[in-house]
Every structure is written in structure tokens, then in C-alpha cells.
Amino acid sequence: MLFMFQLTLKSIKNRKFTAILTTLTIALSVCLLIGVQKIRYEAKNSFTNTISGTDLIVGARSGSIQLLLYSVFRIGNATNNLSWESYLDIQQNRKVKWAVPLSLGDSHKGFRVLGTRATYFEHYLYQGDKALEFTQGKPFKGVFDAVIGAEVAKKLGYQLQDNIVISHGAGEISFSKHDNMPFTVTGILKKTGTPVDQTIHVSLSAIEAIHVGWESGASPRHKISAEQALKQDLAPKTITAVMLGLHRKHSIFSVMRSVNEYPEEPLLAIMPGIALQELWQLVGVAEQALLVISGFVVLTGLMGMLTVILSSLNERRREMAILRSVGARPWQIATLLVSEAFIFTLLGILFGIGLLYGLLWILQPWMFDQFGLYMPMTFMHSDALWVLLSILCMGLVIGLIPGYRAYKTTLTDGLTIKV
């Protein structure tokens, strides 16, 4: 048995060129499959960890996905706001440790502007326990200070002390600008791979200030100056959403219930982790299709191998007859071909893994930069190992086909080969 295996190795060595091509075909398909799987895994991981450390997100009553989309991903708009009084009520709940108000609605050159408190920078966590960090500057202090995400700084080429004019509404092109009150960049955040990168953060008072006179919703006839605005009462009246942290995790449901049953106005509380999972399941269909496709690519690779081995059978008939004449049993000759398939598959898998990690190593910074997708070079998770193991088994099973053919031919050929 071991001897047959050694024979197989020598025979493969003798056919280096086709052997390398066959192995490479399998390697590429395996690389694609586990690559897709890895991206899927990491994308899901980073997506569902877009926001962590926040136990609940509260907004005016709507769908939970909708609330998640506008509060976390800045996609779409809130149909309703919640009142400042509601915010204060929730904040005073004894089970609530901290509450960060979020106010959305304005934008700057396509990037959303978020009005919040400076505590946002402490409480917003992502990927488990990662906190926001500043590459330059610090959180906003003055009313017209702004902290910009990494992507904003990069795309628009902003630096500290640059001036920003905020537009009313969320559109990329807006004709009503709050150009009477320019902001100053005082902080730039480090890249996170989350929507924070595409956000401009200002204080809640700033949101109030730029909207003085805009109560009707339209641009006021006479825009007031920044100095004038500062003299006004800048306490917010409404906000878009609230991020909540609780003292104890197990009080989540009771807080959720009290928010959902809040008598003054209809509110909705969601657990961001759960809502993110739900959302992922919606977008996940496409990536499952991708996985199925790459599964078929692997199958194609293995079929290629089958073709190569089967077509070599005919020219190896005399070799099999010789082995038979020196006493090799037909099943031993079948072993020759099964182990060949096994070796091709095994080498293909190993090369495929090597290729994937090589690519990861090279592409890692680029992927984070382009897609905000962090691909750690961690060892494969058990899913991938199972996939690889089943590919190996499949290679072995496919090897049984030429093995069986060889078994049959050695029996009918006997010692004399008839071409």
C-alpha cells in the first residue's frame, strides 16, 4: 500500500506539467471558495459589529430596520423625531447608565452631519471593544466645532482648522446652505470601517443654532449671523434617536418594554446587535449565491482533475499490465489512481490555502482602505476546515472512478495490452 503510494508520487513527478496544471486548477478554485467564505465571515462579523457597547437604540416608532438604517448607517431619514422631554425621561430611568442623543438631517457634500454630545466619542464602540480614536485634534467644544470621520477627511482633503459649510437636508446637491454659520474642523477620527468614517460630528447646540429661523422648514428670508444665533436659547427641542447603555445587561427587556410603552409619544427601542443580524440576513442572500457559485467552481476543478486522470488511463495501460505481471493485485492498481486523485486534491487544497493567505497578506491594507473591511490573518474557522475536509473526501471519491476503470481494464487486459 505504502509502496503503491510511492509509485504514485514517482509517476506524478514524471508528469510534472499536467500535474502542476491540475493542482493549480484545484488550488485556484479552493482559494476562491475559502476566500469567499472568509470574506463572508469577516464581512458579517464586521457588519454585525458596526456598533457595539450600545445596548439599545431608541427612536420614534417605525420599523426596527429603518431605525437601525438611519441611526447607525445614516441611510434614509427618520419619519418622526422624538421630543427632548422623552429623551430626558429615558435618561432618568434608573437602569440607564448613559444616553447619547443623536440628531440627523443635514449634510455636507454628501456626507451626513450628526449632532450629538462629546460623550458619543466615549460610548460609540465597534468590533467588540474598539473605541473611536482621533488621528488629529480632539472632540468638539465650541458650538461651531466639527469632528470629521476618516473618509470625509480623505475624500474632501480636509485638515484641522478648515472651514465647512453645512447644507440643509441630506442631498448631495443642496441649494439651501447654512452658509451664514461656517464650522471649523477641530478633530479628525481614525478609520474604523464603520459609517462613522463618513460622518461629520457637531454638537447638538450647533444643530439648533443653524436652524434658528428655519422652523417653517424653508430658508429664512434674513439669515442671522453666528453671533446672533449664539445669543438664542440653543437647547434642543427634538432629536432623531438615542443610544443607550444600561447598568446591567439583563434589564434590557424591561427598559425596552418601558420605552415601547412610553405614554407621551410612540417610541421604539431596538437591540442593535439583533437588528444588524436581521439586516444581514436580508443582504446575505447575494453572498450566499456567491458561495454556491464558488462551490461549483471547486466542482469544476475536481472534474478537470477527473478528466486528466481518465485520459491518462489509456496510455498507462501497459504500465498497469507490467505491474500486474510482477504480482500487483487489481485493487492495488486501482489504489495507484485513487491516491493520485487524493494527492492532486491535497496539494490543490494546500496551495489554495497558501494562495489565499498570500493574497490576504498583500491585499489586507487595500481592502481595509477601499471597503473598510478588515481581514485579519487569523487561522481558518472550523466552517472552512470542514469545507476543505469535504473537498478532500470528494477528491478521493472522484478518484474511485478512474480507480474502478483501472481495476476493470487490468482484469480484462491481463498481461497483454491490446490497444
Partner: protein, 233 residues
């Protein structure tokens, strides 16, 4: 001298529906003999050899080789028996292309413990080198890939492999047909020397009547085979 091979009343056909192409009432071959087997093409010489080698079994009758009744052995036992006791040489394509000369020669010892044990004094490799040099293959040649050898050299390597581990019987199926006349005699003389040396019985099939005189006996298949010859040309 005892009988090495005894056939009695054997009948064999490749397909059960066809009439037998081998029908031999009796055939005995003694130990140490050198037998020349002649017969027309398609008359069933190779088929007879495959019966003696235990690759195929006759539909009826009995074959014993070295006192072993082959028809009573199972497939696995016949394969092992062949590995242990018989060396083969064919007309062409005798060697495994991806093995070196030495590896080709030592091949039988990996399928037969007995033939490995028959080489007591030296290592497999030394024995292979001895056989090769007895067959006038020395020096660089034995380290070349077998595909770079001439046909005559290849046939001598095949002979060395058949002789490796001192099997009792060597079956040679037209081993000289691809060699020119001078080479034929050389090859056969070397083969004889080595068979005498190892006390090996030789069954030799050939169309070439000129070689007949070198052998102890001739068996003409037409004489012993009662099956109607298949007229396929």
C-alpha cells in the same frame, strides 16, 4: 526430473459464448527445461501463457505449476503465486517509464516477500546491479531514465527484472521480436546463462523458427491444441 507444469484437459475461451480457443488434453514441462513454443499468430500462445501464469483460469481442466493446482487458488492467491514464482518478459514496453533502471529491476521484490528473501547475500540494489552486469549492462546506463535506453537494452533490463529474486519459472512472450538478428542471439545466450545460473525453467514464445535449435524442446501449439483455430486472417 520432476514436472514443473502439468496441464490436463484444459479448455479456455475468452467469452463463454464462444467455442474454446485452447483445448489441451495434456501438457507437462519439466523443471529446468528451456521450452520453445511456436504457433501462428492468433493461435493462442499468449493465452496459454496467461493460463500458466494464473492470470486467467480455464473453464475446465486442471493446471498445476510447481505442484500448486492453480484452479483451486483464489484470485488473491494466484496473484501472490505469480509474484512469488514467475518472471515475465514481453515483446515491447516492458518497463515502467517513470522508474529508474534499478527500480524497474527491483520491482518484483515489492510484491513478493519470497523473492525478496531469495536474495540473501546482498541488498536488492546490489543484486539488481549484479544481474544487470551479467546481462552486460554496466556503468552509467543503469542510472539513466529507462526511456533513454535502446530497445535491446530495455529488453535486457526486462530480463533482469524477470530473473530478480530467483523465480522458478520465466515466461517470455516474444521478447526478441523487436530486436535485430544479431541482438537476438546475444540476448538469448545471456538469458540462458542466467537461467542456468539460477536453475530457472524458461518458456519462450517466438515466431522465429531460427531460434528453435537453441532450446531443449519445442512445443508446437497446433499439435497439442485441439481447438479449431480461429481464422481471423
Amino acid at each position: 526430473m520432476s514436472n514443473l507444469i502439468e496441464l490436463s484437459d484444459i479448455q479456455f475461451s475468452w467469452l463463454p459464448s464462444q467455442p474454446p480457443i485452447i483445448d489441451i488434453p495434456k501438457l507437462t514441462i519439466k523443471r529446468g527445461e528451456r521450452i520453445f513454443i511456436s504457433g501462428d499468430s492468433g493461435s493462442g500462445k499468449s493465452t496459454l501463457l496467461s493460463l500458466i501464469g494464473g492470470v486467467n483460469l480455464p473453464q475446465s481442466g486442471s493446471i498445476s505449476v510447481i505442484d500448486k493446482p492453480l484452479h483451486t487458488l483464489g484470485n488473491a492467491q494466484r496473484d501472490l503465486f505469480r509474484a512469488d514464482h514467475i518472471g515475465f518478459i514481453f515483446q515491447i514496453f516492458n518497463l515502467i517509464p517513470y522508474l529508474s533502471v534499478i527500480d524497474n529491476v527491483t520491482l518484483p521484490c515489492f510484491f513478493s516477500k519470497k523473492r525478496k528473501q531469495n536474495i540473501q547475500q546482498s541488498s536488492l540494489e546490489d543484486e539488481a546491479i549484479r544481474l544487470l552486469s551479467d546481462l552486460r549492462l554496466t556503468g552509467d546506463i543503469i542510472y539513466k531514465p529507462v526511456t533513454q535506453l535502446s530497445t535491446g537494452q530495455q529488453q535486457r533490463v526486462a530480463a533482469a527484472r524477470a530473473l530478480m529474486g530467483k523465480p522458478e519459472l520465466i515466461i517470455a512472450d516474444e521478447p526478441t521480436s523487436s530486436l535485430d538478428t544479431d541482438r537476438r542471439a546475444d540476448f538469448i545466450n545471456l538469458l540462458f546463462e542466467e537461467c542456468d545460473h539460477q536453475d530457472t525453467t524458461l518458456l519462450f514464445v517466438s515466431h522465429d523458427k531460427a531460434l528453435e535449435s537453441l532450446f531443449h524442446h519445442t512445443i508446437s501449439l497446433a499439435d497439442i491444441n485441439q481447438a479449431a483455430t480461429v481464422e481471423d486472417f
